[in-house]
């Protein structure tokens, strides 16, 4: 209901009033629209309707649609990335980071295809990085390795989130991933066997184990000579 939405965010005013929108308002509305109707449903016209405004109005707050997309990716990341907790041991801290970031990103699955092709380097995000760097440095990591670790985790989380969404856009399909079920057991015996025993097909477990593997890998290499 675009009219109600407009009335709520812009105050109860008669039509034709020029209260002034906000870049933030626009970004939030765009993100909400993508979350609700999917990325393809976000057009300048539909977003305008959502805000109770003509499409061209948006261009007074955002130079181009691409900039709008950058904005919502940035916003989604800022919302998603959890801050470092210095009270935890570093392994736990990184683990929380990975799971928190994953959950945060999965709240906005529509932006994931965008996230893959956009920077999203926000001050808020960098604050977060700085915090995790502090945790790792305190644990004895050379700065180079610490940066490597944070980056690797972030990249993996983003990759996993993207893969999880494209395989399972809200699938009720419990157990094995759908496509494995139709494979020729003669050609792919091990794959089919793994799927049949339900091994290696649970997405959450897959993610958790990989994160653990990454972190213990950091642990082995972490206190070595700095890169």
């Amino acid at each position: 209901m675009p009219a109600a939405e407009a009335a709520r965010s812009r105050g109860s005013r008669g039509p034709g009033q020029k209260v002034g929108l906000t870049r933030q308002q626009i970004l939030d509305a765009a993100l909400a629209l993508v979350d609700r109707d999917g990325l393809a449903a976000l057009t300048m016209r539909s977003l305008g309707a959502e805000l109770g405004v003509e499409a061209m109005t948006i261009y007074h707050y955002v130079p181009t649609k691409d900039a709008l997309l950058d904005g919502i990716v940035e916003r989604a990341f800022t919302l998603a990335a959890p801050p470092a907790d210095p009270a935890q041991p570093w392994q736990r801290s990184l683990n929380d980071y990975a799971h928190g970031l994953l959950n945060g990103l999965l709240n906005h699955p529509g932006i994931l295809p965008l996230a893959s092709s956009r920077p999203a380097v926000t001050p808020d995000l960098l604050d977060g990085v700085e915090g995790y760097l502090r945790v790792l440095a305190a644990a004895g990591f050379p700065l180079g390795r610490a940066l490597h670790a944070i980056n690797a985790l972030t990249v993996f989380v983003l990759g996993h989130a993207t893969a999880a969404v494209r395989i399972d856009p809200a699938a009720e399909d419990v157990g094995a991933a759908a496509w494995v079920a139709e494979l020729d057991p003669e050609r792919y015996p091990l794959l089919v066997e793994a799927a049949a025993t339900g091994q290696g097909t649970d997405d959450d477990e897959r993610f958790a184990l990989a994160v653990e593997a990454l972190i213990s890998g950091f642990e082995l290499a972490g206190s070595g000579a700095g890169g």
Copy 2:
């Protein structure tokens, strides 16, 4: 029809000849076009022009543009994924897989934003997976863990490739990543210090270390209880 195959290269022919295109030909031309001019330059009309044909002609070989994109992603992955070498120790095999896949993907940077939102589960790819499963199973991995490992590596490689391309679309900028240079040292002391010493900023090293970390993480967890 082996002769027709050769005749299908629409080399020097008068206009209006109906030799017959191929789905493969179209996919290859599309991939080449994306590699050369970027993803945005791929339109049905431009691809038609590339093939010496009107846009609508393509629809006789491909039902929709989305299917075309699926096709070129699939093709790029097939070209990129290296087969398993059973003669190597499994750690080496996985390491080669990761580096080979990365290089292969970076040969077609334009498709990376697509790869993030498309399945790309090809028989060829599954052959590859089956091969690596065999290597890991022979090394004593439970099938579940083996699948986890392959999946985690693949996801990480894809994520890293995407990030590397978006940060550096053919940048000559050696050393630190560009955006770190302009940070406020008061706000981000550790980040700036890491960048100043050149630590943690080399993309290749970053990738290599993360892959090693993942693999040694698998090694720790690999022979534990499956599943």
